[in-house]
Symmetry: D2
Subunit: 335 residues, 4 copies
Amino acid sequence: MQAFTFYASDDKLANRGNESSKKYTCRGINDAACRLAKEVAEEGDALVAGGLSQTPTYLSGLGKVHTQKEFQKQVDVFVENKVDFLIVEYFEHVEEIEWAIEVCLKMGKAVVASMCIGPEGDLHGVPVGECAVRMAKAGAHVVGINCHFDPFVCLDALRKMKAALDAAGLKVHLISQPLAFHTPDAHKQGFIDLPEFPFALEPRICTRWDMHKYAREAYKLGVRYIGGCCGFEPYHTRALAEELAVERGGLPKASEKHELWSAGLRMHTKPWIRARANRSYWETLKPSSGRPFCASLSQPDDWGVTAGDASLKQKTDATTDEEIAELNQHAVNGP
Amino acid sequence: MQAFTFYASDDKLANRGNESSKKYTCRGINDAACRLAKEVAEEGDALVAGGLSQTPTYLSGLGKVHTQKEFQKQVDVFVENKVDFLIVEYFEHVEEIEWAIEVCLKMGKAVVASMCIGPEGDLHGVPVGECAVRMAKAGAHVVGINCHFDPFVCLDALRKMKAALDAAGLKVHLISQPLAFHTPDAHKQGFIDLPEFPFALEPRICTRWDMHKYAREAYKLGVRYIGGCCGFEPYHTRALAEELAVERGGLPKASEKHELWSAGLRMHTKPWIRARANRSYWETLKPSSGRPFCASLSQPDDWGVTAGDASLKQKTDATTDEEIAELNQHAVNGP
Amino acid sequence: MQAFTFYASDDKLANRGNESSKKYTCRGINDAACRLAKEVAEEGDALVAGGLSQTPTYLSGLGKVHTQKEFQKQVDVFVENKVDFLIVEYFEHVEEIEWAIEVCLKMGKAVVASMCIGPEGDLHGVPVGECAVRMAKAGAHVVGINCHFDPFVCLDALRKMKAALDAAGLKVHLISQPLAFHTPDAHKQGFIDLPEFPFALEPRICTRWDMHKYAREAYKLGVRYIGGCCGFEPYHTRALAEELAVERGGLPKASEKHELWSAGLRMHTKPWIRARANRSYWETLKPSSGRPFCASLSQPDDWGVTAGDASLKQKTDATTDEEIAELNQHAVNGP
Amino acid sequence: MQAFTFYASDDKLANRGNESSKKYTCRGINDAACRLAKEVAEEGDALVAGGLSQTPTYLSGLGKVHTQKEFQKQVDVFVENKVDFLIVEYFEHVEEIEWAIEVCLKMGKAVVASMCIGPEGDLHGVPVGECAVRMAKAGAHVVGINCHFDPFVCLDALRKMKAALDAAGLKVHLISQPLAFHTPDAHKQGFIDLPEFPFALEPRICTRWDMHKYAREAYKLGVRYIGGCCGFEPYHTRALAEELAVERGGLPKASEKHELWSAGLRMHTKPWIRARANRSYWETLKPSSGRPFCASLSQPDDWGVTAGDASLKQKTDATTDEEIAELNQHAVNGP
C-alpha cells in the first residue's frame, strides 16, 4: 500500500500558484497520506511504502544540498509513521534519483527506485542501461521504470536495463509500472510531450488484452514487481493478476466478480456475441478507433529542454495570461 | 436516482445458465435496488426511478401476455417501494416498449421511454420518427434514445424523432443517453455488432471535449433530459454539467475539485504543457490513437436477425462449447 | 476511341486567363482531337466519339440559348469529322445535360449521357434516379455516371438510377466511369471538394484488386459500358478486362505482358513473396498507407454553392492574388 | 541514360521458370538495352550507363568466382557498346557489390555503386556506414542507396553513410534513388517484406510535395546524384528538378506543360479550388487515405533469412503449386 505522496515535496506544493504548501503544509499532506495507507493496509496484511518524486528544486538547478533538503522533509514524516519501505519514483534524471536514494538509505529503509524514462535514456542523455547500473550502485534494492511510456516501450527499456545490470554483475530486482496508454510516437520525454496529454488520451487507452500480453512479457523478462501507473483502472490490474494466476498461486479476489477470458459472454442474448466468448478472438482483434478523422500517431512537442534550461526555472507565482500567450507563440513558431 | 434494475426481469435472470433468478429472485434483486437508490437519494433531494428493459420473452416471440407478465413482476416491486417515476429503456422494438408503457401507466406512474435505436429505426424496420410518435401516443411523458450509438449519431436520430413529433403535433420532452464510445461505423443494431464489443472498446472512448460538444448540441436541439449510458465516467457527466453551467444556474459540485476548461495546467512544470491551458487547444485537437496497426473503422457483424428469428430464441440452459464452435463457423462463413 | 474534347467549349477555353480560345480556337482544338482519334481508331476497328461537357455559360446562369450555342460549336466540328457517336459527360446539373442531349440528337447522332453525380443527386437537388429518367426521356441511348466518386459509390448511385429507370419502364443501357480514387468521405460535389484534390490524391488510388471487384459488381448490376475516369492507369483498365475475360470472350491484348492473378510472383527470389502468388492473398489484404500521421477520412470543403450563385459567375480575366487571398479567408472562416 | 539491364544476368534470366535466358540470351538482352539507351541518349547529349545488380548465384552461396563470372558476361556487352560509365545497384550484401565493383574497374569504367539497404545496414549485419566506406575503398566513384525504402528513410541511411565516409576521410560523391512509396514500417529488408508488395502499394505512393521535400533535404545533405527508383512517375522526377531549379540553373523542359507550385488551379471553375493555388496549402496538407478500414502501418514478413540460408537457394525449375502451398503454411505459422 503506497501512501499518496507523489509530488508532495514542499517546493512542488508551492509552485506556480499552488497554495497547498501554505494551506496544508508538506508535513500535513505526507502525514495524512501515511495514516490513510496504514489504515487500509491493516485491513489485510499489506506492507506500507512512502514515496518521493522529482523536485522543482532540482529542475531549477539549485543543487544537491537544496534538493536533498526537500527529500529529507518527506522522509522524516515517513520514518515517524514507520512505513515498511520507500519508493523513489518518477525521476527524469539519474543524478537526482541517486541523491534521493542516498537520503532514504541514511534512514535505514529498503528502497525501490524507478525512473520515468524510456529506451532513449534520461533527459541529460545518460543511457537507460547506465541509469539502472547507477541506481543499483547507489544502493537501491529494486530498480526499474514507471510512467511516461506504454507497457511495451517500457519493457524495451527494461530489457536494456537488465542487459546492463547483467553486464555489470549487479543483482537487483526489477520493477515496471508503465502507463495504460499506447505511446509508440513519444520521444525521450514520454507522453507528456504528446499533444493529447493530459486531457485527450482516451483513444490510447490499453485494453485488458494488452495487459495480459504485458504481464506475460514482463514476467518472462524477469520482472517481479509488475504494476501500472497513469491510466490503469482496476480491471487492468486484475488482468495482470489473472494472466499470472499460475505463477501467483491463484486468482485475485476481484476475479470472483468476473468470468475469465470473456466467458461471461456465453450468457449474451445475441448469438454473434456469444461467439466471441473465447480468448483467441480478443487476443487477435485489432480494435478500431471509431475516429476516421484522426491520425494514428501524433507529433510530440519535443522542446528538448531539461534541468538547467532557463525555461524550466520554477517559481511560486501563478502563471499569467501573458505567459500563456507567449508560450503559445513558442509552441507554434518554435524558440 | 435510478434503481439498478436493468435487465432484471425474471426471464433474463434465468437465461443461458444465469442462476440469479434462482439464487436471488427477480423480486429480491429489484427490491434491493430500490432500497439502495432511495437510501442514496435521501442524502439529497433526488427523485427515485425504477426501470424496465427489453425481455428474452419478447425476443423469443412469446407474445404480449407473457411479455407484460415479466414487466408486471418488476413494476409491482417498484410500486411497493413507492418510486417517483418509471423508466422504460433499452428497447429495440417499438412494439415491446408500447407494451411496457401500458403496464407502467396502469400503475399510475409517470413514464420516461427510451429506445436503443439509431437513425435507421427499430429492428423491425419502423422508422425512428415513427417510434417516437408511437411512444408518445402510448402515453410516455418523455421519449428518446439511450445506448447503442455515440452522442452524435444519437442526436441525428433525435433530430428525426423531434421532426416526426412536431409533424404529429405531439408535445413531449426528449431524453438522450448515448454511449461514451464513438460508433460511426455501427449499423442498425449499434455497438453490439462492432467487433470491439464489449472488451476492446477503449480506443473509441469519448474525451471530455466530445461531451462538451454533445451537451451543447443536445441542448440546442431542445433535449432537456441529457445524460449518458455505457462508457460514461463521472468526468464525462461533469463535462455535460459544466458545458451547461449557465443554463443550469451554476456549476456542479464535482467542479470544486476541478479547474474549468483545463486551467489546472497553468501549474504544470513544463512550459509547453502550460501552453495547453486553454479551451480552444482542446476543442480543435484531433486525438491520435497510438495504434498504427489498427484501422479507424470496423466492419460490424450484421447478422441481420431480430425478434422472431429462430436463432434468437432464448433458453435457460448454459451455452455449450459445441454451440460456441458452431456460432464461430457462422461468424466466419455467414449463415 | 474518344476524341479529347473535354472542357473544350469556347467559353471554357477563354475562362480566367486561359488563352487557348484565342491561341488555338475552339474549332481548332476540337478538330485536331477528332483527327487524332480517327487516326488511332483506324489502327484497329474502333468507333470514334466526340464529347461535350458542362459549360461556364450554364454555371454563370446565362440560360438555354447561350449554353446550347456553346454545344453547337463543338458538335458542328464532330459532325464534319463524321464521328460515330457523341458522349455528353461530366454534367453536374440534369437541366444542362438535357440541353446537350437535345443539340446532339438534332444532328442525328447516338448519344451516351453521363453525369458526374453520386447517390445524393445533382447539384440542384434532383435525385439521382430522376436524373437517369430525365436523361433517358431526353433521348439518350446510354445513361449513367462518370468521375467525382470512387467505383463503389458510383455503383450505389447507379443502383438508384437502375431502380428509377425500371420503375419508369425505360429501357436504356448503363455506363459507369468512376474515379480510381477512394472517396467515401466526399459529399454531393464529389472529390473536387476533398482537401486532397487535385495534387495529393495519391493515398486514395485504387489497387487493381479494387478494380476486379468493381468490374464484377458493375457487371452483376447490369452495366455494360464499364470504364474509368480520372486516376485510371492502363493497369486498372486491364484489370477490368481480365475480371470479365469469360464474359468478353477472352483476355485483352495487354494481358500478354502480364501473368494473371499475380502468378508472376512465382518467379520471385524471396520465398515469402512467392507465397503471395495467389489471388485470395490480394483480395483479402487491407493495404496500409504508410502514413501514420494522416487520417483516413477528410472533411470536404462543402461550400454548398452551385449554378446560380454569384461566386460561380465565370470570367475571362486571370485570377488575381487579391482574389486568391480573399478566397483563402473564406475557406478558413466560412462565408 | 541508363540501359535497362536490371536483373539481366544470365542466372537470373534462367531462374524459377524464367525462359528469357534461353529465348533471348543474356547477351541479346543486354545488347538490345544498350542500343536503345544510346539511341535515345543521342537525341540530346546524355551519357549512357550500363547496370549490374545482385545475382541468384551469390544468394545461393556459390562464391566469388561464379558470381563474378555472371557480372563479367554483362560487362563485356557494356564495353563492346562503349557505354560511358557503369552503375552497380540494388545489392543487399556489401561483399557482393565489392565483387561487382572489382569487375567494373578492371574494365576501366567509372563506377556508381548503390545498395538497396536502409539505416539498419546490409543483410549480413554490416552497418550502413561501413558499407559506404567499403564501397568507396573498393574504388567506386559515387556511393549511395537505391530502392527498398522511402525518400526520408533513405536519407537517414545516407546521413550515416556520409558520417562514416567523413570519419574515414574518404571523398566520393553520394547518390540517392529511393522508392516513391512511404515505408516507415519496413524493417531491414525494405518494402519487399511489406504485405502490400508489390500489387497493393498504391496507398503508399508519395505526392509531388513529398518529392519537393526530399529533393531539398537530399541537396542539403550534400547528395548530388538525386533520383528515384520504383514507383517514380515522371511528375515525381519533375518535382525534384523544380525544387532545385535555382541550383540547376533553370527549370526542366517538362515544366513547360505545367504551372509551378499548383498555380494552374487559378483557372479552376470552383472558387474553393482556386483558393488552393498556393504552395503552402499543399506543403502542410496531411492527405487522407479514403480507406477507413485499413491501418496506417503493416507488419512486415520478416523471415529474417539471407544469402547462405537454404530457403534462398535459387533454381531453374518453375515453382510448383505444392511449393506455394508449403510457403503459405510457413507464412502463417512461422518456420
